[in-house]
């Protein structure tokens, strides 16, 4: 049966609406609106043999910029004239409509979450149904689905391209009905900025961590923290070997609690020579956890904060491979912040599939990366920076030219999947199996949906997440891990706690310079303490603001843009 007429038949049965046309002399769009809040459309292409048929002109498609409902005659003529290969499904949000929301009763529909919910449903229906999908804003694009006129506003929309398969179409439309009955909504933690249409910046720098298939256990990074507690400084020439000797005694704890993949072990002769631990140290270097100045290995300024809290933490478990809440907070933040491109896409793939396998992910991962990188280069709105585009292009070329993607992807995916498992965001089989199944956990669902809130704030996918991390990471962490706030907290008691912690930093992170503490260390330490001890997520931006305004008589605040860091001094009077 002809796709176009099939499409119309199906829709006219389920949605009580009439299709309309939009087009010019180059292309014609056939669309049906108000199908459970979604718009279903497809570009119809003139059948080649009919190319100069007079009927085409009789239909008067050219310059059809306003929507025009089709007459019965036209509908009848349509299938014989046109064919199509895919259906486009989308819904839009008009920029500016957010201003009408209010904070008390905040329940706007989330465009990005709707996209991923639909993708998940469509995937369940038939895993080959979806051809492609996009999330973006569209300026000057005629709005088909809303009563608002476009004017100065642009649309924020997603697009899903699905194959025209006769038998699935009806089910697909049914899906729309069910998603529309309870559309996913935007989380409350972003309400203020969502309503205010706050602009978030994106440096568009793509950060990717260097990984080796061995580096699967975040517990080894935790052990690096323990190592630095014991040996704050070690000659770099012996660092690998000493770290390896330090972690080897923990082998049993790893095999008993998880499995033996990624284990650091001595060589055959039983001696530690550092080569087994090397990939983990390289990962730590890639994460910026280690300094090697004057040929001495020390913890970097960021990692020192973790080492400090680790040293004073009363662990729930003695097993370093079973991460504590604080470990998850620190590693989660570093991994998401420094590997956002890979991690967010990996989570996205698993989220859409809910349960999948390592092999399936391996099959699609490279393609999704390349598609996304192409999209990032398209320049939908503010991509004018040539250098940025060139960088993205370079990454795209590099990924496209992976020589043995099969083997390479093992090094890319295995560590990341296992980190996500260590963070309890995905589940992997404990025992070795030929087919590694991967499924997203409830926490993983929440975590990914929180990232979707960021997309809604940006009206787009995110390339570099720095500003979102600074604004919201503790919030998405607290939401994901369901951390309850302590009872009887007042704004004042929280601020008092913050002040005590800042003062403590002057002792904890003392350096050779007198009366001075590095801002990033203070902020990250206080943030961690407030979340772990009080159950309150506070952003870096909030803390910055409190220090600069409410504590301005207590501390001198200095910030240097070139280092993206600053320092505090106590005011002496």
């Amino acid at each position: 049966m002809n796709m176009v007429s099939n499409f119309y038949n199906v829709l006219s049965k389920t949605a009580n609406t009439r299709p309309y046309l939009l087009g010019n002399d180059k292309e014609v769009w056939f669309a049906m609106t108000e199908t459970y809040g979604f718009i279903i459309s497809f570009k119809v292409e003139l059948r080649e043999e009919e190319e100069y048929d007079d009927d085409y002109y009789e239909l008067e498609f050219e310059e059809q910029r306003e929507r025009r409902y089709m007459s019965d005659d036209e509908l009848e003529a349509l299938p014989s004239l046109f064919h199509t290969n895919y259906i486009q499904l989308y819904t839009t949000e008009i920029y500016g409509c957010r201003e009408g929301e209010n904070i008390e009763d905040f329940r706007p529909q989330s465009i990005s979450k709707t996209l991923y919910t639909l993708l998940r449903e469509l995937y369940t229906l038939d895993k080959n149904l979806v051809i492609d999908y996009e999330l973006h804003t569209n300026e000057g694009f005629e709005d088909w689905g809303s009563m608002c006129s476009v004017g100065e506003y642009f649309n924020y929309l997603f697009l899903i391209y699905i194959k025209c398969s006769d038998n699935q179409l009806l089910t697909a439309v049914e899906l729309l009905r069910s998603v529309n009955n309870s559309p996913p909504i935007v989380s409350k933690y972003v309400a203020e900025e969502y309503i205010a249409l706050k602009k978030f910046s994106d440096s568009k720098r793509i950060n990717i961590l260097n990984t080796n298939t061995k580096t699967r256990r975040l517990g080894y990074l935790k052990l690096l923290g323990k190592y630095f507690i014991k040996y704050p400084q070690s000659p770099y020439s012996q660092f690998y070997k000493r770290y390896e000797s330090f972690v080897i005694p923990y082998q049993r704890q790893l095999t008993e609690s998880i499995n033996s993949r990624g284990i650091v072990s001595a060589n055959i002769k039983g001696a530690a020579n550092g080569s087994s631990a090397r990939p983990y140290i390289e990962l730590a270097n890639s994460l910026g956890f280690v300094n090697a100045l004057n040929k001495v290995a020390t913890a970097s300024k960021d990692f020192k904060v973790y080492v400090e809290i680790l040293g004073n933490q009363k662990p729930v478990s003695e097993n370093p491979f079973l991460l504590e809440l604080f470990d998850k907070l620190f590693f989660g933040e570093n991994i998401l912040g420094k590997d956002f491109f890979y991690i967010s896409i990996l989570l996205e793939i698993i989220y859409i599939r809910h349960t999948t396998s390592f092999n399936d992910i391996k099959e699609v991962f490279q393609g999704v990366l390349i598609e996304r990188l192409k999209y990032f280069q398209q320049g939908y709105h503010d991509f004018r920076d040539k250098k940025v585009i060139e960088n993205i292009k370079r990454i795209e070329e590099r990924i496209s030219s992976w020589e043995k993607p099969e083997r390479y992807l093992e090094h890319v995916l295995m560590p990341r999947l296992n980190w996500l498992a260590d963070l309890h965001l995905v589940q992997l089989p404990k025992a070795r199996k030929r087919e590694v199944t991967v499924s997203i956990t409830a926490k993983g669902n929440t975590f990914f949906e929180c990232i979707c809130d960021w997309y809604d704030l940006k009206f787009d996918w995110i390339i570099n997440p720095d500003e979102f991390m600074d604004s919201y990471f503790p919030h998405i962490f607290a939401t994901t891990f369901n951390i309850p706030p302590k009872n009887d907290l007042t704004e004042q008691s929280i601020k008092d706690f913050i002040l005590d912690q800042i003062n403590a930093c002057f002792d904890i992170f003392r350096t050779m310079a007198a009366n001075r503490v590095t801002l990033s260390q203070t902020v990250s330490y206080v943030q961690g303490k407030v979340l772990i001890e009080l159950g309150i997520p506070i952003s870096k931006k909030y803390l910055d603001n409190v220090i600069q305004n409410e504590f301005k008589d207590l501390f001198v605040y200095k910030f240097q843009l070139q280092f993206n860091d600053g320092y505090l001094q106590k005011v002496k009077n």
């Binding site: 350096t511 050779m512 310079a513 240097q560």
Partner: protein, 368 residues
């Protein structure tokens, strides 16, 4: 340029960079910091131990100014006479940014030295200098090259020898001094400098100590890892080889860096153990700012003005407002602000800078 004499000032006292003329370098306010430097230098004049002093402060807090001020001959002579010792030999340099930092430091030091003057000073006071050199150094190269500095009358030859630009024939001609080769390794530079410093401060007779003041030490963070290791090893070696009478000041900006908390992390442990003192250039409070202004203005007065405030031509309210409007600004920023106000008042021939004038011109100062 004519300056409004009704301000009772010889010139605009506020500078954004330290003066080069010795007479224009004045120390105003901040008695505590000044006292710390004086105390440290006096100790260096009296006691033999070598040591390292770190001067911390943000950009524009006065570190370079301090370096230049304590390099003034009159200041050093005064400190020497107060300590009843001979004066220190002062050498100021900025941290070299090139690929061979040790050679660059060596060259910068040699550039600063007046070899002829040193030679005559040493020859005049220490007759037994050759004997000292022979007995102190066991390295032949150090022995002969240090001796050469104090033996060769022709200064051009000495400098060219130090810069490594003598021809092999010219080196051979120095045969009677047993100089057989020129400088070859970084170790040669360090050992030579140590030998030179030790000789110059031998028994604290000619010079009580050598003050090596390295400015912009924060640039170590911009060097390659190899170069920053070299800078560390230069400092470590120079201390190891010059156990007495060497006082090194390092000016460090309070800057956070990408992976380390501050510049202190760039210093090796052996160097840290040499630190004798840390001097902190804090952001001034209102009292310190007021004292600084009074001191500075008074150094530029044409005549005494018993009937006027020490802050004249600034009204005390202006100082208070500037402080509260630009809280925690650096000293350089304050200098810029007061300088601009003074220049504007000069242009408009305003006799006194009051709060109304300040408010009116605030945009000019804030820049927007």
């Amino acid at each position: 340029m004519a300056f409004n004499t009704s301000f009772n000032l010889k010139a605009n006292p506020f500078r954004s960079v330290p003066a080069n003329q010795a007479e224009e370098l004045v120390w105003a306010g901040f008695d505590e910091i000044k006292g710390k430097f004086e105390e440290r230098i006096k100790k260096g004049i009296r006691i033999p131990n070598s040591g390292l002093v770190l001067n911390w402060g943000e950009y524009g807090s006065g570190k370079t100014h301090a370096a230049k001020f304590f390099g003034k001959q009159s200041v050093l002579e005064k400190l020497a006479s107060e300590s009843k010792g001979s004066k220190p030999l002062y050498i100021y340099l900025t941290l070299p940014k090139g690929r061979s930092p040790i050679e660059d430091i060596f060259t910068a030091i040699i550039d600063k030295l007046d070899i002829g003057k040193l030679r005559s000073e040493v020859r005049e006071i220490s007759k037994d200098i050759d004997e000292y050199i022979d007995n102190t150094f066991d390295d032949t190269f150090v022995k002969t090259s240090v001796k050469a500095v104090f033996s060769i009358a022709e200064q051009g030859i000495v400098k060219r020898f130090l810069y490594g630009s003598l021809t092999p024939k010219e080196i051979r001609d120095l045969g009677q001094l047993e100089i057989l080769r020129g400088f070859k390794s970084e170790n040669d530079y360090i050992k030579f400098l140590s030998g030179l410093f030790s000789t110059l401060t031998f028994n604290k007779r000619v010079y009580s100590c050598v003050i090596l003041w390295i400015d912009e030490f924060e640039d170590i963070a911009t060097l390659t890892r190899a170069s920053s290791d070299k800078v560390n090893s230069f400092l470590r070696e120079i201390f190891d080889n010059t156990p007495s009478n060497l006082l090194v000041f390092l000016n460090l900006t309070q800057s956070p860096l990408f992976t380390v908390e501050d510049l202190g992390e760039y210093m090796s442990e052996s160097l840290k153990s040499r630190i004798r003192h840390r001097i902190n250039f804090e952001t001034p409070n209102q009292k310190q700012l007021t004292e600084y202004l009074e001191d500075l203005l008074s150094a530029f007065r044409i005549e005494n003005q018993p009937d006027k405030s020490g802050l004249f031509p600034f009204d005390v309210e202006v100082v208070r407002s500037v402080f509260s409007d630009f809280k925690n600004a650096s000293l350089r920023r304050y200098n810029d602000i007061f300088s601009t106000l003074l220049e504007l008042a000069d242009i408009e021939s305003i006799p006194e800078i009051d709060i109304a004038f300040y408010e009116k011109n605030k945009n000019e100062i804030t820049g927007f």
